[in-house]
Symmetry: C5
Subunit: 84 residues, 5 copies
């Protein structure tokens, strides 16, 4: 899973049914990449989250018939790099 930061909502009124009514969030990774993730958790901007890809993202978005390829699956409490 990727460690990403939630930036804002993304509004896409005209969209395929397979996206459902899911909240879409603009998320960034640590290397400047910007992507859009489904957000079934409900995460405010500024929070660090873990997001999952592929078939796992469809399941995480609610069911295998969803057409998400990136879905937020948890809010990170804390993490650190091993200092050894």
């Amino acid at each position: 899973m990727d460690i990403m930061t939630v930036q804002s909502d993304l509004v896409a009124t005209r969209r395929l049914e397979g996206l459902g009514g899911t909240s879409l969030k603009v998320v960034t990774d640590g290397r400047g990449g910007i992507e859009v993730a489904c957000d079934p958790v409900g995460v405010p901007p500024g929070k660090q989250v873990i997001a999952t890809r592929g078939t796992a993202a469809r399941y995480a978005a609610g069911s295998g018939s969803m057409i998400a390829d990136l879905t937020i699956c948890g809010i990170i409490d804390n993490w650190e790099m091993d200092q050894r």
Copy 2:
């Protein structure tokens, strides 16, 4: 999902049946990458869209038997980066 900009139609007369008669669009991402996406939404050049990959792209293109690996799934109304 990726944020991409629709550039133009792509014409490929000789193609496998699994692509169906779907409209194909040349799309670009924010880092200069160029790809081809199925477009079941019907998006004119210049618009920003979200596109989905993998099995989600096949479903978004119409059914699991489609052979798309990138499909436009929504037109972006607006999005912004969190300024905090």
Copy 3:
């Protein structure tokens, strides 16, 4: 799907059954990347094609039991970047 250019045949006499007798082609993308694609279309060197990845590549290669992860699915007639 990726826009790729067919370079040459690739000969691999000793290979797993799941590749079948499919023609294998060395293909390049616009950034200098080199990959190998199954070619059920029959494309001569020098042509620009679209190629699909993942489960779509297995279906495009003929069936879900194929072990391809990149398959040529169309010959490009023409494409252009939007000049606006």
Copy 4:
């Protein structure tokens, strides 16, 4: 599979059910990339592991209904580059 080094635990109290109670680990690759992997093996920080992606990661995490996209699947005893 990727060769990765386990750095630390990642705590994410609020998470989707599909992640189960699996241990999550911050892992790094040899190029400075940081990701989060499910750890059904139980690996202490500092160890080099192999991790698998995609549908394989879901199965490796315990079942196809898991929503992992990266799972540790073995601890590396040793490996070396061919010096020829």
Copy 5:
């Protein structure tokens, strides 16, 4: 599929059952990347091979229940870039 060079065996005594007893090989691509592939073909170090990813890698490794995400599927006899 990727063109990769087999470097050496990788020993991972403690591993998940889903990897079976398959031989694991350290493989490199042409850009300095290092990965681990299942090797059902039996390839000595120094050989150039084609390797497949994703669900295709699981099938190539023997069955859909394998947890490989990269599997060697053929030994390359020869390949060349088109010189035109």
